[in-house]
Each structure stands twice: as structure tokens, then as C-alpha cells.
Amino acid sequence: MLTAYAMVGVFFIVAIGFVVGALLLGRLIRPNRMYPEKLQTYECGEEPVGPAWFNFNPRFYIVALIYIIFDVEIAFIYPVARVFRSWVNQGLGWFAFVEIFSFIAVLLVGLAYVWLKGDLDWIRAIKGDPRGAQGVSARARAAAEPAPMDEAA
């Protein structure tokens, strides 16, 4: 039993030893000539501009999060589809159907929520920001409205 875990242990030791060894070897044989440009933060070859703490648009993350709704849905429906026939043969077809349907319904509630809240609109109006106000549905604007929570602290 324990010998099976020994493989994992050896793997870990080799992995750690590889990294440590490579870094150590590099440290021993590389020349050490530092100048200011070398010590700068690497930013794709450009000179770094401004501080790292700034606001950026989170719309990609929102879309990625919403995508997870569908992703998880597929991941969970697939096994059900796989065993559905055997459930039908056991006389539990309706049970399985209702169960998976309520699962999808719950996820659809989440989808409906983000849709109605305007999170599926690529262009959203932010309060006090005249840009992007065109092409936004009235509902999205209304949804974006009650968000003046940032001044409280």
C-alpha cells in the first residue's frame, strides 16, 4: 500500500530537485551585471507605464462567469444522458427527467437574472459616464443605476 505512495514521493523529490538544481546552477555560472533597465518590471518589452493599481473593465470576466453557467450545465447533464436509458428501464424515467429539469431550471434562473440585470449587454452605461450611453437598453440603464455604493466606507 505504502509503496504505491512512494512513487508519488519520488516524483515530488525529483520535481523539486529539478527546479532547485536548475536555479542553483544558473546562479553559479551566470554573470551578475545589473543596470537600472534590467531591474525594471518586464512589460512585453515596453517601458512600464503608470502604477499597477488601476481600474480596468471587467466585462470579459462577467462573460466568462456567465459562460460557466452553460459549462457546468453540460458537464452535469452529460452523465445523466449516459445513464438515462437504464433509469427508464428501472421505471425511474420521470424521476430522472424531473430532477435534471429542475437542475436546468435553477441555472436558467441565474441566466434570467444576469440578462435582466443587463450583464449580457456588452456596452453598459455607468452612472456619470456619458460615453456608452447610446445603444443601452432602458432596463440596463435602470439596472446600472442603483450602484452608487462606492462613497460609503
Binding site: 500500500m1 505504502l2 425511474l92 424521476f95 435553477v106 434562473v109 434570467a112 437574472y113 435582466l116 440585470k117 435602470a142 443605476e145 442603483p146 450602484a147 452608487p148 455604493m149 462606492d150 462613497e151 460609503a152 466606507a153
Partner: protein, 502 residues
Amino acid sequence: MSSFLVALAPLLVVGLGGLLLMLGEAFAHRERGGSGPSADLAIGSFVTLAAGAVVAFSLWLVGPENLGGAAGVAPFLIIDRFTLFFDIVLCVGGALAALLAGGYLPEHKLDRGEFYPLLIFSTLGAMVLASAGDLLSLFIGLETMSLGVYALVGFRRGSARSAEGAVKYFLLGSFAAALLLYGGAMLYGATGHTDLAGIGAALRGGTLTGADYGLAIVAMVLVLAGLAFKVSAVPFHMWTPDAYEGAPTPATSFMAVAVKSAAFATLLRVLVSAFGDPASMSWGTGWPPVVALLAVMTMTVANLVAGRQESVKRMLAYSSIAHAGYLLVAVVALMTQPGIAQGSILFYLLAYTVSTAGAFGALILCGSRGKEAVSYEDLAGIGHRHPVAAAAFALFLLSLTGVPPTAGFFAKLYVVRAAIGGGFLPLAILLLLNSVVAAYYYLRVLVYMYMREPAPGAPVAAPMRSGYVTAALLICAAGVMLLGLWPTRSLELAIDAALAAR
């Protein structure tokens, strides 16, 4: 086939209520300048969670052993009196937080509808956690609860302090969950079971080889560490003050009350069902010395640090850590007095829920927009400016101290009695000494409220008035007094629930 729906009714009621409220909020048309989401959702959430508690209580009256469907969901969800007791405690904690939010969020310009569904689904996760009898459902419940709470902590989006608390809580919480999962994987490797009863049977059977037994011991330590994080026992408490301080106060109340109760529920279930064999429960070869060390550190460190805090909210955060320490003393007493110790823990959690939620509610009433009453100085003279809030705050702090006619006194009494009866006199003495230390910082609030006046020229926090918060305070005050004046009946219920878990 559908009888299991009855057994799961408390969970289903809360879950469905949360979904409906979420849809209602999404379809609601709100005019600018009109009432915010809190006006509708606070009451809705309160009703949903109160309904969950009522359904759980009616299942209690029917008797979970009479429910045919309860066996159908075991071992993933165990529906017994232990579960139902915690369902009630958790729903009460969540419902009180919803009421507090109804007053707090509009006042502090945080009025967004998301708060309430997150709160309800976190409560649902906590209920699943309390009823989980399998490591898999335990983990699902834990994550459902935690994900909602992470978001609640970061709810004050513009505040750096809130973001700091949320990120800290999220990172450390994920780490603790990973420890727990790793321990679970090892337990499965050692025993071949994921259900707690099966793990317990394998350990009790004594059929494990030496290596597997060692693996199970390591797993026990990892699981214990993961759960100690959730109950915020020292040395796993580092996130607690920051997360509690950064979160909006209703969310803080929810974390201190419901999250902690659910974590204790699952800690009890894991220790009793999975690690309840004689070897694991003995002082020489099992978990009691580890838990005793945690209890001593938690009580002492938390009380000493709490006395040095200048922010009342932070003081309450450390006080909630200290209370986890007192509860861990009773967990140690499980070793020799399982029934009485569990009963005392359950009773303590009930008393602690109403006292702590009430204390946070009173703290909300003492502050207002842009000026949360955070420091002791802010509370100076509040006894004259806002007598109701001050009186309520005093009552709940006395209960947390453990002064006789309140719930906190009997809660502490039963824990001490269980510890002494179990033969842990030093732990009981330490608990009492710590209560004396705690009285210093609880009573300090009373001194500031009634005996100090604000310094001339200092900004005075205008107290707020809110029907929601007042209602929550009334419920808590009623609970504190009921449990304090007639503790016997509820202790009997708690012991009933405790015995059912074995």
C-alpha cells in the same frame, strides 16, 4: 419516491424562496428615488428563512425517524434531530441578518438586491453542511456557504478595507478547504469510505494496517485544521478580524452566527461519527489533546487581544473567536460525556446566536450614514442620545459576558458543567478566568455608553432609527431573556438533538 421531499422540506423551502426572491428582484421595476430593493427583499428573506425554521421545527415535532424518505437521502444528508436543531439555529441567524440588512444597507448606501439571495443561499449551504453525513456533501455544503459569504464580505465595493477582508478570507478559506479536501482524500485512501459512518466503522474495526492507520491520523489532523479555520480557532483565526471588520455589519453578524454554528455542527459530526472510535477519542492517541490545545489558545489569545482593540466591531470579532474557544472546551468534554457535552454546545450556539446577532444589531443602530460607530469614543454618551439602542446593546453584552438572568449565563454554566463532569477541571478554570478577562472589554462598552460624554468638538455619530433593526433586536432580546429565564426546556431539546447524532 417523493417522500424524501418531505424530509428535505427545510432545505427546499429556503432554496425555492431564495430563487423566487432573486427572480422577483430581477423583474422589479424601480424608479429613481423610489424605495430600494431592501424594502421588498428584507421582509421576503426574513419570511423565507423563518419559514425554513418553522418547517424544520414541524419536522422535529413529527419526529425525523417517522419520515420514510429520510433514509433515502442518507448518508449524503442525514435528517435527524441534530440536523433539525441546526436548521432552526441557522435559519434564525440568517433571518436576523436579513432584518439587520433591511435597516443597514439603505442607510449606508449599499442597497443592492444581491445581498439577500447571497444570504439565503449561504444559509442553504450552511444547512447542507450541518446535515452532511458524507465528505462529498460536506464539501459541497461548505463551498455553497463560503462562496456566498466571500461575496458578502466584499459587498462594500469601494472600500479598500472591505476588499482586503474579502480577499484575505477568500484566499485563506480556499486554502482551508484544500486542507479539508486533502484530508478527505487521505481518509478515502485509508478506509475506502467517504461517508462518515463508514470511516468510523473502519477505524473502530481495527482492521487497518499500520500504514493506513497512520494515513488516517494525518487525515484527521488535516480535516481538523480545515474545520478549525471555519470556526476561527487560534492559530487559524488571522482572517477573522479583518473579514469581520470589512464586511457590512449584517454580513458580519451572519458570519459570526450562522457560519460558526454550521462549522461547529460539522465538526461535531465528523468527530463523533468518523473519529468516534475509542482510540481516536482517547487522550493518549486521539484528537482530544489537540482540540484542548486549540481551545486554550483560542480563549486566551482572543480575549487578550480583544481587550486591546479600539474598534468595537473588531472587539466583537475577537469576542466571537473567544466564544469558539469556550465551545471547543465542550468539544473536548465529548470524550467522556458525549451527550451532555453535545447538548451544552447546541444550547450555547442557540444562546450565542441571539446574543451576537443582537449585539451587532445594536451596533448598527448606534451609527448612521457615513459615520458607523466603530470606536469606543463613538459610543460615548449614546445612552442619552439613543436609550433604546444602548439598553439593547447592554443586554446583549451582558449575555455575552455571562451575567445571570441572560442566556449567556446558562450557556457558559452548561459548558463548564460538562467540562467539570468530564474531568477537565483545568479547562473549566481557564474558561472562567477568560470570562473574567472578557468582562473587562464588554463592560468597557457600557462605561462609554453611560458614563462618558463625547469630547467637545468631536464628531458625534447620529444614531439611526429603523423598524427592521428594532424588530431584530426585539426578537434577539426575547430569545436572550427566554433562554435565560427558562433554560431547562431548551436544554432538554438540545440534549435530545445531541443524542440523536450518535
